[in-house]
Structures are given as C-alpha cells and as structure tokens.
C-alpha cells in the first residue's frame, strides 16, 4: 500500500506537476525565468563554488541518465560487466558527488555569511536548498554506505527498472521496494524536488543557451507592430 502511494502515485503526481508547472510558468512568468545570479554582490567564493557545483551536478545528472535509462542487459550485451560498470560509476559518481557537495557547501556558506546575498535569499530559495541538498545527501550517503559495507546494492536491477516502468505506464513498485531504504528515500526526495522545480529558480536549467553556438552574433528584430507595451483597444487597432 505504502509502496503504491510512494512509488506510483507520488511519481505520477510529481511528474505531472513538473511538466504542467513548467508549461504554466513559461507562459505566465517569462520575466521571472532567470538564474537570479548573485555574482554582483560577491565573486571570490562564487568563482570556486559555482563552477564546482554546476559542473559536478551536470556529471551527476549524466550518470543518472546512464544508470536509470540504460538497462543492465544492454551494457552487458556490449561486454561491460556489472562489476566494471559499478566500479566506474561509483568512482566517477563519488568524485562528481563530492564536487557538487563541496560546491554547494561553499555556495551555502556564502549565502549565509555574505550580507547582500543573504538579504537577497527568498523563502522559496530556502525551500529549494533544503530539497536539493537533501536529495544529493541521500543519494551520496546511500552510495557510500553501500560500498563501505562491502555489499553494494545493484540498483540497476531494482531502482532503474522501476523508474523506467513509470514511463511505460506499467508502474511496478515492488521492484524498488526490494532496494535498501536509502534508495527509496533518495527517489522519494527526488520526486518531491521535481514537483517543486517549476516554481523555483531551478527552471534556469531549461534555458541552457546552446543556441548561442549557432546563432548570428547580432540579433535584429523589428519593432513590435504593437506600439507601447499593451495591446490596442478594440477599434483602435493599427490601420493596415
């Protein structure tokens, strides 16, 4: 029962909020869609913390995509044994995880101690930090504990198939129920974070400016045919 609640209902609800929330926010609040950078206030700590955190978390995200979406049978089919995969994943993952965490620690320390940055922190930001850091800590903790005890759990046989099953619309909570509690907590925290995502500054992830690589340097745009910044009243539209 709790299995269904936490690993079927919660994921679907959170994913729905994630998708619809982004659509809604994009339509309603383009102006609020920003990184809200605080570099202007302080740059010494940011210069170390921010790249450390961001590059770290990009690696972590890449690792998750690999681990969750690619079935174990596929990697075995191309001759990568589970032990080899695990060794690589754990070492890279731990390094990336620690970079992320170290970066986050610097950033949070900065947020708390640098006056202007602290006064620019909203309640929304604080909730976001708790969720994000909580999720990262749970994930990193589970990985490290599992490996320290010497019996790392092969999540690619439990968590990953469950995760994929959500997207086939044949959710199977029993799969993840077989994983240790750490994994289950991490997954739950992640889904709650996803539900909060569209309402936080994390939306800036979806504006990674890759188009910059191909667009011409100078953008020309015609003046909005609508003059001023509100639409014409009926009967006052522009004469064509």
């Amino acid at each position: 029962m709790t299995g269904t609640l936490f690993f079927v209902v919660l994921p679907y609800v959170c994913l729905a909020i994630f998708v619809l929330g982004h659509v809604w926010r994009y339509r309603y609040d383009k102006f609020g869609w920003t990184t809200r950078s605080s570099q202007l206030y302080e740059r010494r700590l940011l210069r170390i913390g921010s790249p450390l955190f961001h590059f770290g978390i990009l690696l972590v995200a890449a690792g998750h995509i690999g681990g969750l979406l690619i079935p174990e049978s596929w990697t075995e089919a191309i001759g990568v044994s589970e032990t080899a995969y695990h060794a690589v994943a754990v070492s890279l993952g731990t390094v990336a995880g620690f970079c992320t965490l170290a970066g986050a620690a610097i950033l949070i320390y900065r947020r708390r101690t640098v006056g202007p940055v602290f006064s620019a922190t909203t309640r929304n930001d604080k909730v976001m930090y708790v969720l994000l850091i909580g999720t990262i800590l749970l994930g990193l903790g589970t990985t490290i504990l599992g490996n320290l005890t010497g019996h790392p759990h092969d999540y690619r046989l439990t968590v990953s198939p469950w995760f994929r099953s959500i997207f086939y619309f044949q959710p199977d909570p029993d799969l993840i129920q077989a994983a240790p509690i750490g994994f289950r907590l991490h997954a739950t925290a992640a889904f709650i974070l996803f539900a909060f995502w569209p309402f936080s500054r994390l939306v800036h992830v979806f504006s990674a400016p890759l188009g910059y690589l191909t667009r011409p340097y100078i953008v020309y745009r015609s003046r909005d045919p609508r003059l001023g910044n509100r639409p014409a009243k009926r009967g006052w539209e522009r004469v064509q």
């Binding site: 202007l40 006056g115 910059y212 953008v219 001023g228």
Partner: protein, 552 residues
C-alpha cells in the same frame, strides 16, 4: 547597399556644465527601482577621472568590445562562444558592486524618534544591499569636479598612455564633463555576447534593447559592453540598459536626458547607413582609422541614389526627409565636428561628441590674452598637447589629427562670429584657414548656438496610428491593460515574476509600497522601501514617521 536607419545623438561637450540633471531625470524615469539603485543609464563623469564604473575603459582588464584576432578577423575580446558557455557559471570579467558603488540611504527615522539628548541626532548611512550601517566610500560621481583627484586622479585609464602626466594641481589642470549613455552601437558587442539572444537591435531605428522575457541573467553582456552600459538588476536577475527612451522616440519626442538637458547640448536625429559595410569598417586594421571608416559607413541622405535605395529598403518617406534634416548628420559628416567615443572598441558607437574647446579658451583667457582671437586660439591648440592628446585618447584612438582639426573649426567659428556680432566685416580668411566657407561656418554656428527644439531634435514618429494607446499619452486609464487592474506587487515567485506591467502602473505601485515600508532592505520576496526621492511632500507616507502612540 543595404540602407538602414539609426537614431543617433551628438553631445556638445563645450556646453556641458556638469549639473547631472540628465542623470537624475533619467534615473527618475528608468532606474528608480530596487535592484537598480546603483544603475545610471545616463551618467556624467568629470574628465580626467576614473569614470563609472571605475576604470571601465581599461579593456585589458574588462575585455569588453571587439578586437582583431590573429587572422585579422573581428572577434569578441572577451572570448568566443564556447569560452563564454564554459565560463557561464562564474563570469570572470563581471565588475563587482564595489566597482560601481554600494548604494545607500540614510536612517532618517532616528531624526524623529531619537530621545532628547545633548547632541543633534544624525541619520547614519545604511547600505541598501544589507541594511547595515555602512561607510560611503564611492559613488557614481565621487570624483566630480576633480574631487580627490590629487589622490586618485592618476588612476584615469587614459593617462597611462599620455607620456607627460596631467598635473592635478588646481591651477594647472584642465577639466571637462563627459555625459554618457548607451551608444546604441551599429555593431553591439553586448548583443553578440548574450548567450540567450535576448539583446537585439531594432531594425527600424537601431535602438538596442534587452528583451526582459528572454534574458536569463547570464551577465555576459555586462562584460561584453566596453562602455559598461548594460547593468545587472540584482533583484530581478535580468540585464537592463538605456532604452533611448523608445516609448518617447516612437511618438517623436526626445529622450528624457535630452529634453531636460540644462545646457541644451544634445542633438537627436536619424543617420542612414549601409549595413553591408559595417563589418568591414569595424575590422579595419589600425585603430586610428576607425573614425574615418565609421564616417564612411554613413550615407548621404541627400544623394538620390541613397534615397532610392532607402525607399527600396522600406524606409518611409518621412523618415528619409527626417534623415535629410538630421542635425546629427550635419555635425558628423557636414561640419565634421563630432567624434565617436572610443572608436577603438570597434562597436561602432552612435552617440558622438563635439570635443570641448573651453579648456583651451580658458587657458588663453587666464593668461590674459584675447581668447576669441583666431591666432591665439590656434597657437594654443598647437601648444596644449596634453589636453589634445587626452581628447584624442577619448575620441580617435589617440590620433590627434581629427581632434586638432575639429577644435580649429570651433575656434574659427568663435573668432569669425565675433567679428559679425561686433558689426565688423567678417574675415573670410578665418573659415578658409579651416577649409570651410563663411556660410558653412554660419550654418554651424546656427546649429550649435541658436537651434531651437525642433532643429535639435528631428525625430520622425514611428508609424504610430496607434500612438493613442502609448503610455506617454495618458488618454486612457492606466490600469486598463491585459490582466489589469493587476495591483502591481509581487508575483508568486518574488518581485521579478509575473507578466510585465505598464511602466506607469509599476511606478505607481512602487511608490505606494515603498512609502509603506519600514525596513531598509526588504525581504527578497516583497517590494518595500522608503524612498524620500519619491515623496512629493504631500501627505504623510506611512513608514516615514514612527506610528503615533495613540494609534499603535
């Protein structure tokens, strides 16, 4: 030939009295909000001086603008696209708030609620960023009128390249004011640096704007602009810049800074230019050739071939006529007395300056000679190498030739017109000495000294059959806008969220809310602040005075 039109400005530095009226009115119109307290779209700096932000001209440090790469092609000085994307998490070249100044207010409350005491209570300065007590150490015009220059005047970037240092002793120095706005460049490096493509140049009038809905706060434009005229709003997390008062320009009235300029020294008009030749002109190898190269990009609006091409390019007839009457074109290309600011940044700036003759005139007068006499003035221009070299560093990448020629033309105008004003016979040798005719000199004099409002500002309105609903003409209820009356205030994600609100409505709510604030720095998700600048003296804004005992 691809004809495009550009709104451009010329400022006559001789007439600037450094009153900062332009800065203040601009601030009231555009940056009188939290998040941009430190921002001056228009600022007036005393030269020699460091400018605002401090030492912004040092491109070896800030890497703004364009440069030529090893193959002689134009490239962003701050690095190419990949480099920009990799440094996106921490922009290495972003000026910190300390390079501008820490905005502050005063704790006026203690003046009214301090207990009876021996000493008069003082309103201590409070930082607008932290709300804590602060020590004011710098501002946007801290070195106004060379204040403090004996201590830090030598930090002026331009003095580095002038061998004989300008002396900052009171009697020996020269000084003038340099009002600066965004240059609305033909080749804007701010736009080129923007990863999101949010900064664009309007095809109709060349005004460079930031699309607030597309800006994602990557801050690359701030570093990219060599004039440091894009600013980061630290509350909304978006870049903001001078808009050339486009809502006013669209209805044919000048920018706020021009309208309110006490010296009446600003000219606004259209320039037609050949968009196909901009890149070529911006890539000429020698920095000193950039002034001439840019001048050649401009098209003569009287030339029938240009008129035909402009019509083919869809430029309306009344715009072409406005370009023909443009005072800016006359000053730049006919009389050749206006020069671009720092052409060596290769952005092709479009706010040009008539260099000041007054430092020269003052020196001649102070030495007791006749400061209207051509011979004396020419000799002084010859002798005053340091001021001339300094102006050349500003306007022609160090080439004293054009500055010299410009000052001579202005000096010639002075002495030629004196004869006329005194009822003497005009001496035609004077204009001839600077390669002009008496008539040209007189026309130039008219434009520089007498021109009325509609000659200084030749602004064709945008094709604005809808001008009725433009904000500046408040003939409709200002609350009638989509989603209105949306009572301003905060969207669900803090001040920056929600759709955009008409500027007038936004200002109104800002006022109301500020007056009801009782903290100096507001919690990030509310907009509250007391701002005395906004209090017109009528009524009693809540939060300005402590509550009465019987009320609370």
């Amino acid at each position: 030939m691809r004809v495009m039109a550009q709104m451009a400005m010329v400022m006559n530095l001789d007439k600037c009295i450094g009153c900062h009226t332009c800065s203040v009115t601009c601030k009231q119109a555009w940056t009188n909000r939290s998040g941009v307290e430190y921002v001056w779209f228009n600022n007036v700096e005393t030269r020699p001086g460091q400018g605002y932000p401090r030492r912004y001209e040092d491109q070896e440090q800030w890497k703004g603008g364009w440069t030529l790469n090893r193959r002689g092609r134009l490239a962003l000085k701050g690095g190419g696209r990949l480099k920009k994307l990799f440094s996106i998490f921490s922009n290495p070249k972003l000026p910190a708030i300390a390079d501008y100044y820490e905005p502050w207010t005063y704790d006026y409350e203690t003046l009214t609620n301090a207990p009876l005491q021996e000493h008069t209570p003082v309103a201590r300065p409070k930082s607008l960023l932290t709300g804590e007590n602060t020590k004011i150490t710098w501002s946007a015009n801290w070195d106004d009128n060379l204040g403090g220059s004996p201590d830090h005047g030598d930090k002026d970037v331009l003095l580095k390249s002038i061998a004989d240092k300008v002396k900052f002793e009171f009697e020996q120095t020269f000084m003038f004011y340099l009002p600066r706005i965004c240059e609305h460049c033909l080749n804007p490096s701010c736009a080129a640096s923007c990863p999101s493509g949010a900064i664009y140049k309007r095809a109709e009038d060349g005004i460079v704007l930031v699309d607030q809905d597309r800006c994602r706060g990557w801050r690359m434009c701030v570093s990219g602009c060599p004039y440091k005229k894009v600013y980061f709003n630290h509350r909304t997390g978006k870049a903001e810049k001078c808009t050339f008062c486009f809502p006013r320009i669209e209805v044919g009235i000048p920018t706020v800074c021009s309208e309110t300029c006490v010296g009446r020294l600003r000219y606004i008009g259209l320039m037609l230019y050949d968009a196909d030749r901009v890149l070529e002109a911006a890539s000429v190898p020698a920095d000193q050739d950039l002034y001439e190269a840019q001048r050649k990009v401009f098209l003569d609006p009287a030339d029938p071939a240009v008129v035909a091409a402009a019509e083919k390019a869809g430029i309306p007839r009344d715009w072409i006529e406005a370009a023909q009457r443009s005072p800016v074109y006359a000053l730049i290309n006919k009389f050749k007395v206006a020069l671009p600011l720092h052409p060596e940044y290769r952005t092709m700036p479009m706010v040009w300056y008539i260099p000041p003759l007054s430092p020269v005139v003052d020196i001649v007068r102070d030495t007791g000679y006749d400061a209207e006499d051509r011979g004396n003035l020419f000799a002084a221009i010859e002798a005053l190498r340091i001021p001339i070299d300094y102006l050349a560093q500003l306007f022609t990448a160090g080439d004293a030739g054009p500055v010299d020629a410009t000052l001579r033309r202005l000096a010639a105008m002075r002495s030629y017109m004196r004869d006329i004003n005194l009822g003497r016979d005009p001496d035609e040798a004077i204009p001839a000495a600077v390669g002009m005719t008496g008539e040209q000199i007189y026309d130039m004099y008219r434009l520089l000294a007498l021109a009325k409002y509609d000659e200084r500002y030749v602004i064709p309105p945008a094709h604005a059959e809808q001008a009725h609903s433009l904000e500046e003409l408040a003939t409709e209820c200002s609350l009638d806008y989509e989603g209105g009356p949306g009572m301003g205030g905060s969207g669900p994600f803090g001040e920056s969220s929600g759709g955009s609100v008409p500027i007038a409505v936004e200002n109104f709510h800002m006022l109301v809310e500020r007056q009801t604030s009782d903290t100096i720095v507001d919690p990030g998700d509310k907009e509250l602040r007391v701002n005395l600048l906004n209090w017109d003296g009528k009524g009693k804004p809540e939060g300005l005075f402590p509550p009465r005992k019987d009320e609370s």
